[in-house]
């Protein structure tokens, strides 16, 4: 993707009182790209999206979307962005169709165009047969789908999706991910935030890892793995390790790049998982420890995150 970036964020900062929520975030998204911001709770994802969608004024820095500045030309920016907020922002007392018609008018649609787009949106959200029902009667997944459909009504050039799959069943999540991919194939640029590795891994062309308000790494999945040099992983679950068990000498073993111990779980980052496993198991046996479970993992985002922050990225 060598095209001119559709979105460029430059040195964004945002404070909430004394909390420095976003500390100098810069990145760009090319037209047609799906870019994921991956980070744990409170990392600053929503705050960053808030600034990019003109909702929050950056304390420092600026961003442009299609050449329009979010701070100086917010009105122009609003015309080309679609926003899907993290919290479902719909009117519970209105039906699905009424919501779509209301939000459609707010983005400037009217008449036959409005009716057509509302129908398309109902189709997309798979809510045709529930069009007349109040949103209050919908399941979490249905609300999430409608929440997304509202953001697409005016066919934006870039869609901001803030954790759109939180708290829904796997089936609904699958549908949402497929929808995003399909929209992207149709040319839509997407900024997606999540704290689910698998989603970021599956969807994104590029991923930005955000932690404590800073973008600590960025690139394609392969690039991230190469950058961080994370290897394959061996995850061992021990049977009742003694309380004073200190796995320090394990970290010194040959081929082990990194060891992360948490409770009864030992995660080894190694150059060659299959090759190093026997020696590790023997060593543990020599210490009188029993291994309950063995798991081998390809290098993945989780490993990248762990490598970068020393913490596991979990829900």
């Amino acid at each position: 993707m060598q095209t001119q970036p559709l979105l460029t964020a430059h040195n964004l900062h945002k404070h909430y009182g004394r909390v420095h929520a976003v500390r100098g975030v810069s990145f760009h998204i090319a037209a047609g790209e799906i870019y994921s911001l991956l980070g744990p709770n409170g990392a600053g994802k929503t705050t960053t999206i808030g600034m990019l969608t003109t909702l929050l004024r950056p304390d420092e820095g600026d961003a442009t979307i299609a050449g329009f500045s979010v701070t100086r030309q917010p009105q122009r920016v609003k015309e080309i962005i679609g926003v899907v907020p993290q919290e479902i922002a719909l009117y519970d007392d209105l039906s699905a169709r009424e919501n779509l018609r209301f939000w459609g008018r707010m983005v400037g649609l009217r008449g036959a165009d409005l009716a057509k787009r509302a129908d398309e949106a109902l189709e997309l959200a798979e809510l045709r047969d529930r069009a007349k029902d109040k949103v209050a009667t919908f399941s979490g997944g249905m609300k999430r789908r409608l929440n997304i459909a509202v953001g697409l009504l005016h066919r934006p050039r870039i869609l901001f999706l803030d954790e759109p799959t939180v708290g829904i069943d796997p089936q609904s999540r699958r549908r949402i991910l497929d929808t995003v991919k399909e929209l992207n194939r149709g040319g839509l640029t997407v900024l997606y935030t999540t704290h689910y590795m698998e989603e970021a891994q599956e969807l994104s062309h590029r991923i930005g890892i955000i932690d404590y308000g800073q973008l600590i790494a960025e690139g394609t999945l392969d690039e991230l793995i190469t950058q961080t040099g994370v290897g394959e992983r061996i995850v061992l679950t021990l049977e009742a390790p003694p309380a004073d068990f200190a796995p320090n000498d394990l970290a010194q073993m040959e081929g082990v790049q990194r060891l992360h111990a948490e409770g009864d779980t030992l995660t080894f980052e190694v150059d060659d998982a299959n090759g190093r496993l026997p020696a590790l198991l023997l060593h543990l046996q020599g210490l009188g420890l029993t291994v309950r479970r063995i798991e081998l993992q390809e290098p993945n985002l989780e490993a990248v995150f762990l490598h970068l922050t020393g913490r596991a990225l979990r829900e």
Binding site: T54, Q75, W103, G108
Partner: protein
């Protein structure tokens, strides 16, 4: 227009909400009716009143006092049962006895003609005579009639008697032929307003001392309770309307609106529009239903319409002010409920504030409810014309505008990113 879209969305939402409808429409109608019924089936002004029991003390040492009483006694009105005397006059020996009769409920009012009544009328240089009128505070219509007719009659006496030193007979003829008195009797409501205006304008020879006797009983007139309840419950609905800005902020629909190409001012105007429209529809339904189903007489339609609008606008301004400076919608709700209750009580929506200390009266006049209620009762009970309630309308609108201006400052501070 996006403004209108937001206005209609809010209005539609409110009228779909069964719980909201309960307190917006059902509660005021029901409570108004119950209060009206609880205090007895008092005439609500829709059918003519006659034979109003009136205690009269004629202490006049001259002859005009008796003439005055005679004319009062002879006044007739058309009723469903044919021509009837307007007043059932009972003579009493002294003011004390007459007042006691009113307090016992035997008379709706008492009229006391002073010893110098004739003298004052016949001699331009004599001190003015004082006519005392006492009325039953638990009644609404009879006191107005007693006052209005007495005032009109006194005026007639004054113009006929002054300087001319006519004989009693001639005065009777002159007064009874007085077209103004005839109009007054034919159209009492009109006369009530007229007489008060006239009376204030001219320097009377007779000074009327109006007094409502103290008493703990409450009013029992739908024409008083319906507007009271309408105003009281309107407050809640309108406060809720403005508070919904904070609800939308919390729910995330306001932030989402702000990411659409809709100007913030348009969003705010739309929310205000929705509140005003909801309030107006609520008032319209309350007025129409109470009038058509329960025969409540609201008075001059233009007056009712404009006063309703002014009341809704004033309350919306106050609601916006509360919302703009509250921490969140919960706090705004609690404060709003408190304000609505206190204003309802101070404004006389539950207890008629008569003969209260000056400070309480002033406090009462600081509430929107009081101005609205005074306006509505003037229209409903005194049949006041539109211009008589223009001051009330102006005050309500001015208060509303002031509150809106403050609210705007608050909202601006609140929603700057």
């Amino acid at each position: 227009m996006k403004l209108l879209t937001i206005t209609l969305k809010d209005t539609l939402t409110r009228f779909r909400d069964v719980r909201a409808l309960l307190y917006m429409l059902v509660a005021p109608l029901a409570i108004g009716l119950i209060m009206g019924a609880a205090f007895g089936g008092q005439n609500d002004g829709s059918s003519p009143i006659y034979a109003i029991p009136l205690a009269v003390v004629n202490a006049d040492t001259g002859d005009l006092g008796q003439t005055f009483v005679d004319i009062l006694t002879k006044i007739e009105v058309d009723t469903a049962e044919g021509k009837q005397s307007l007043f059932a006059v009972t003579p009493y020996a002294d003011a004390e006895a007459a007042r006691a009769a009113v307090e016992r409920g035997e008379a709706d009012g008492a009229l006391i003609l002073p010893p110098d009544f004739s003298a004052a009328l016949k001699n331009a240089n004599a001190p003015r005579a004082r006519l005392d009128i006492y009325t039953d505070p638990t009644l609404r219509i009879p006191p107005v009639i007693i006052r209005s007719v007495t005032e009109r009659l006194a005026l007639g006496f004054q113009s006929a008697a002054l300087g001319a030193r006519l004989a009693a007979e001639q005065i009777t003829t002159a007064v009874q032929a007085d077209p103004a008195l005839q109009t007054a009797l034919a159209d009492l409501p009109q006369a009530i307003a007229e007489a008060e205006a006239d009376f204030a304008a001219e320097q009377p020879r007779i000074r009327l001392q109006r007094q409502t006797l103290g008493g703990g009983k409450s009013f029992n007139v739908l024409g008083y309770f319906m507007p009271s309840m309408a105003i009281f419950f309107l407050m809640f609905a309108v406060f809720h309307g403005m508070r919904s800005i904070l609800e939308e902020e919390k729910k995330g629909t306001l932030p989402r609106l702000l990411t659409t190409p809709t100007r913030p001012a348009e969003i705010l105007a739309g929310k205000i529009g929705g509140t005003l429209l909801t309030g107006l529809l609520q008032m319209a339904v309350l007025v129409l239903v109470s009038a058509l189903l329960f025969g409540v007489h609201w008075g001059n339609p233009w007056g009712v319409a404009l006063l309703s609008f002014a009341t809704v606008a004033g309350a919306a301004g106050l609601g916006a002010f509360l919302a703009a400076f509250a921490r969140d919608d919960n706090q705004a709700g609690i404060i709003g409920t408190f304000v609505a209750l206190v204003f309802g009580i101070l404004g006389g929506n539950f207890i008629m504030l008569q003969n209260v200390p000056v400070w309480l009266d002033l406090l009462s006049k600081a509430t929107l409810n009081r101005w609205a209620l005074d306006g509505f009762t003037a229209l409903a009970l005194d049949n006041a014309p539109l211009h008589a309630v223009l001051p009330h309308i102006a005050i309500l609108l001015a208060l509303g505008a002031a509150f809106f201006a403050l609210a705007l400052l608050g909202f601006r501070r609140r929603f700057t990113r």
